[in-house]
Symmetry: D2
Subunit: 345 residues, 4 copies
């Protein structure tokens, strides 16, 4: 951490900063420059509250030289984290894992139909919400426990793995019994009690980026999970907030490249929430895979006109089929391939 | 809800939309225009998933004519909600209620010193976090249960009321035993299980706007609490995310005027998080009161250089004192006054 | 245009709105609903100032049913606009046109070296700024007229076409004499005198999206050029402003799909400004082509360490070479191919 | 400027950075830390292209210690710039200057009525656009030269000063003949040819913040004017872009306090564009003055229902009157007062 002093900072102000840093138990190293003095704080272990130092008399600005996260960073672990799934595929390796299905589990008929169609097109993981966070209290809130049972049924019938969301500690316990991958949604990205509890599990956690989260904040939230003991975190870009209402969110595909540079964790992309419009999903799925995404999370519905939620961003079965063929070809271009069940015997 | 059809929508597409709306149990009213047809959906009770209709063939766009929230709106209740506090003051009336204190409860000595100084300057509610949501797992996370005990002690000694944050369901139960006002933080604004539980209580809830929440979303989150039975919601503007790193957040003072137009709920302002810099807090506190805020939430610390969190945005005691005199005078200009203990005998 | 009245609007307020619309020369069509009345304004030719109507007594909100632009829209012209370049290639058709070169023209040696290397890798258009808009008055501002001469020299030697920016009316005249494609930069996207003058030319205009421009605003700026007579507009996505400082800008790849849905104009992508980091450019170039971009605008420098501007986002020659091979393969996947000189004899 | 090296940077990479800095003519000062080395670049005069250094091998990040602007900063000039107007009032001193009038000059009758009413309420400067930048080519574009004549007429009749916008170099010449204060609009904030030309004049320039401009960028644009010789720059906050469509723009009142901290230049606030809704303007005008704004720019129209532009954000005469009384009282609270004609004899 570097403390930049004001140009007119007095020697007293500089020594004040130095002595407060020393009182905190760190080493302060003043570096006089041509126009102003900078004080280096050496040995910062992440517990220094920079806001306090920023408010000291004579201080112009605080500059962070080290990243605030540790275990999730490439500097901590150079090799990509490889997260094995129960069917033998691995997230974070050469394979691109496609997770697809409806926004919500609505009925046995619907989820079975969805499972069959996404399997037929080549997906290996079934998505579907049992507990749904909805902006309005009057919107459909999910089938809850019954939804989990239906997901389990679909898994038994098709052999697909299950990814589904947990919203609170009670739900987490239930979800962890059923899901192969536990989703922490965008609205929960900074729900720290939930993150800590995820850290006590061993199942893979799919951590979605919050609507207004910087990539640093996304990595810090992942750090909560790793710090509590669970290394199996899959990040997910799903669009962030912007000023342009044309799309539901702004799909930040560059986040894929950024995360791959800063962290060893895998990152998948959700072009359905990323755009909010069915017609844009295939192009954005292609783009995400071309950018190096380790997987896709896509909404597909056997009958989007009848969907209880997110119908407008759910692909028709035939759209999904075509999309799968395209992304498979693009994966090949960059030396990867779509995950298939039984890839690894 | 209005469904705008594409210019080249076929009669079949139009009648398709009409029949799907009918199948949902609502009335569809097609209105042919010069260039295109618009279909009105009559009787929308908030349960229609507009995304599904948006995805129908021939549909160009969905337009929401009604607000998605109900009980929080001015159209539902014209008169401002008046929330009485245990000391007889009322939030949402003529009085401007000042809640002040440190970011975190750190020690008995610190919280008592803080309580005494904010009381001396004229505040009537003491703020201070016992459970702290922090971006990094390595930052100070609050004293927890012990923090609540210290807040209680400070209340006994000074007569100030207490506002403090709850982060999850377990914490909520504890906080509800001690606090006079329960704070739901910005990161929890869309934690729906928490909101629903707040709705089962009767104590006032201070609901902070999320970092990337629109005002509509803030009001929808408040709707969760009202819909579950608790009408005592105080909204709080505390800065939102923007592209300019100069300030910690972008303090959206206009939100005060917007909320007063759309809703009957009171709204207070937090210029400390709104700006992140101590030197800007007094000017922004004046601005918020001038804009009509029903109260202020301000960080003050007896010794900001030693604060464990947010020291740089905490006012020095003498700054707070001066700020209180200024905001009192500004309140008078617009026909209000600062709340004082014992205002109502 | 639809005028949504407040729930408690009086009959007088409704008839007031109707008569003001009539006085403006348009037809007003009141539509009473269950909760409130909506008034349709029929015959809006784009000259109605909606703000004025929004401010009338009893009005809750204005809703725009028609798009504010015309000639640029798909509804005006269904077929994609095909813009022929002097070398026989066409922007907006099956070919993907790559425009590459340094940020600024710096010297004869530099621009010739750049031209040779981008040509060798397969680009067909040379980019390079002679007039540079720079945030700081102390930064390098470009070689001006001499820069144009050097671009011309490079064209003569290599046969590449030239794209370069004009910043004002005087510069436009000069640039139009030399350039094959005239660039209007992001900061000039709403420089209406400049846009109108571009509309009087016939040369293709590369119109870059402004940092905070919605896609609607980008299309409206293009409309200025078409309305003034020049149909040859190539749009360019180059990143927009967001809250996350990790990348220089937020590269909005979805804009490619959005524009292709709303407009018949071609759109190219600039991953160099879109990300600001050399290491992310190849992944984002692949993503843009996968998403359907009609071309790429990429910064490449023979010696990035010595660049006078944007060195950090300029590709090394060997990076560009590899990128070209990858995007060529991805173009094939979606049925396109990279433009090559002499494609059309 | 500080160059933070990657944790695993090799000695060769570090010495490479040092020698490239030396080759640029600056001094490089390596500072080994516990985890990584930081290299200080000493003597940066603002001409270093940091992007180039950021792209060197082994570099993790560039950190700017000095501000990129000079003459506009408080460190260059501690005392506030006082800008005298022809009527003897001073912008940037104790007085708060109110500039009011319609969005556009529409007719002799309209501008004279507007001038009389804003004068009667206590404003001293008349605003009104003759050249109008409009997003759509089909919107009213202003009366041009005739508009300037009408403003001159209004000045002769009422004694008010005139502020009006110039959009290009030709317009600037015309506007400079008539206006007392020349406005550079938000869309032109980075029109550098226009800024440079403003720097050759002596008349005060009202420089509006761009929709997506950081405060640093606003100050850099002002630096263009000062660097070219004109010290008389009045900054203007008028709302920036955000994700919430509730208001037209996000009125960044904190910018007033930020600018007063960083720069000696005065700053005024435009609550009309800042919110876009007439009903919010008075509250935001009060807030801006409470925050320390050196003046206000407010849209008032004698007959907003008939306005050709921005009618919905224009105050009714009686609203403006009440607003003036309120802001006068708030100015007193913080030791200021509204400017009045003839203040200085």
């Amino acid at each position: 951490m570097l403390i930049v002093m004001k140009q007119d900072a007095t020697p007293e102000e500089i020594s004040g900063v130095v002595s407060i840093i020393a009182a905190m138990g760190y080493e302060a190293r003043p570096m006089p420059g041509r126009q102003r003095t900078t004080v280096g704080l050496v040995g910062n272990d992440g517990r220094v509250d920079s806001s306090t130092i920023a408010g000291l008399s004579g201080v112009a600005e605080i500059i962070h030289v080290s990243k605030p996260y540790k275990q999730v960073s490439r500097e901590w672990q150079l090799e990509p984290t490889r997260i094995p799934l129960p069917d033998g595929t691995v997230v974070g390796d050469r394979e691109v894992v496609v997770m697809a299905g409806p926004c919500s589990v609505e009925s046995e008929e619907q989820i079975l139909a969805a499972a069959r169609l996404v399997k037929a097109a080549g997906a290996t993981v079934l998505r579907g919400g049992a507990f749904k966070p909805r902006s309005s209290p009057y919107s459909f809130q999910g089938l809850g426990r019954r939804g989990l049972e239906l997901l389990d049924l679909a898994r038994q019938e098709t052999g697909l793995l299950i990814v589904t969301e947990a919203m609170d500690l009670d739900g987490l316990e239930l979800v962890a019994e059923t899901a192969d991958i536990i989703q922490v949604g965008a609205r929960s990205m900074q729900n720290y009690p939930l993150l800590k509890e995820c850290g006590r599990l061993r199942k893979p956690i799919l951590l979605k980026r919050g609507l207004a989260a910087t990539i640093t904040e996304l990595l810090l939230s992942a750090e909560y999970i790793l710090a509590a003991g669970n290394p199996n975190v899959i990040l997910c870009e799903r669009g962030i907030r912007s000023f342009d209402p044309t799309t539901r969110n702004l799909f930040d595909i560059a986040a894929i490249a950024v995360v791959h540079g800063l962290s060893h964790l895998p990152i998948v992309a959700d072009p359905s929430h990323g755009t909010g419009h069915r017609d844009m999903v295939p192009a954005m799925a292609r783009a995400a895979v071309a950018a190096g995404a380790d997987g896709l999370l896509v909404e597909v519905h056997p009958n989007p006109e009848r969907a209880l939620s997110d119908g407008g961003q759910s692909l028709y079965p035939e759209q999904f089929d075509k999309m799968m063929r395209e992304v498979a070809a693009i994966a090949e271009v960059i030396g990867r391939s779509l995950a298939t069940v039984g890839t690894v015997v």
